[in-house]
Subunit: 141 residues, 2 copies
DNA sequence: AGTGTAAATGAGGACGGTTTTCATTTATAT
DNA sequence: ATATAAATGAAAACCGTCCTCATTTACACT
C-alpha cells in the first residue's frame, strides 16, 4: 500500500482516486502553495478528469483532517499547502506571487502577550508580510 | 464649508452627496469598522437612497485617497475604517466579530528584520489575531 | 469473489460579495 | 448660464467557492 493510501486511511478518509491524485499533486508539485484552481489544472495536465467541485471538496476535507492548511491571501482566493506540523507565517512577493515561510518566536510570544493583555483567548493568528522578493528587485520591472 | 467637504476636496474628489453621506456615516458610526453592506444599511436608515454599487465605488475611492483603509478579514468580506494615519494591527473576536486594534513595536521591528533577512523589500504587512473576547468568554455560549 | 450500503463524485447551477456597464444626472470650470 | 467631464443608479456580470442530486465507487460482510 502506498504512503498516500496510508495517509488517507489514517486521516479517516476513504481511499478514492480523486483523493489520491490530489494528494500526489500536492506532494509532487514544485510549488508548495497552490490554489484549488492550480491543483485542478495540474490534474488536467496529468490526464485526470476530476471536477473542480471535487477538488474543492477534497481540499476542504484534507484541511479538516489536518493534511493541508489553507491560507487566506489578502483580498483573494485561498491557497493550500501540505501540513508539516510546524507552524509558520508567510512572506509574499507582490510581483511574482512567490511565497516564502518563516517562523519567529519573538513575534509568536508578543502575539500571545497582546491577546492576554486584551483579555482575548487566542485561537489563531495570521501574519503576512508583503513585499518585493530579491529576484524581482534585481529584474526591477 | 463643512469639514467633510474640505476632506473630499483635499483628496481630489468632487463633492457629491453620496460621498458626503458615506463619509458622515463613517465618522458618526459607533462602530469603527464597517463593511460596505453596513455602510449601505446605515445610509438607508438615515433615509438616503444611495445604491450599493456607489457605496463600493466610494469606499474604494476613499481607500485610494487615503481617507479609509480596507481590512481583509479571514475568508470573508472587506471591512473599512477611517484612516487616522497611525498604523495598527487587529484583534478579532470570532464569536461577536468585534474588532480591537493594537500596535506593538517589537512585532513591527521583527517584521522588518525578517523581510531584510529574506531579501524582501517590504511594502506592507497584515496581522490578525483571532480569538474569543473577554465578554464572549464570560457569556461562554 | 459477490453484494449491500453508505459515502464519494461529476455536472451544473446557486451563491455572496464585489465590480462593471451604460444610460442618466450632477458638480465644477468657464 | 452652460458645457463637459465625472459621478450615479440599476441591473447584469464576475469570480471563487459551495451545494444539489443523480450516478458511481469503496469498503464491510457474507
Amino acid at each position: 500500500m502506498s504512503a498516500e493510501r496510508q495517509d488517507l486511511r489514517k486521516a479517516g478518509l476513504k481511499v478514492t482516486l480523486p483523493r489520491l491524485k490530489v494528494l500526489e499533486i500536492l506532494e509532487d508539485a514544485e510549488l508548495r502553495h497552490m490554489s484549488a484552481e492550480d491543483v485542478y489544472k495540474a490534474l488536467l495536465e496529468t490526464g485526470e478528469e476530476i471536477g473542480l467541485a471535487t477538488v474543492y471538496r477534497v481540499l476542504t476535507q484534507f484541511e479538516g483532517a489536518g493534511l493541508v492548511s489553507r491560507l487566506s491571501i489578502d483580498g483573494g482566493h485561498a491557497v493550500f499547502e501540505l501540513e508539516d506540523g510546524a507552524h509558520h507565517d508567510h512572506l509574499l512577493c507582490v510581483k511574482c506571487n512567490q511565497i516564502e515561510e518563516f517562523v519567529d518566536e519573538v513575534i509568536e510570544q508578543r502575539q500571545r502577550a497582546i491577546a492576554a493583555e486584551k483579555g482575548f483567548e487566542m485561537t489563531e493568528h495570521s501574519l503576512y508580510i508583503y513585499g518585493i522578493c530579491k529576484r524581482c528587485q534585481a529584474e526591477n520591472n
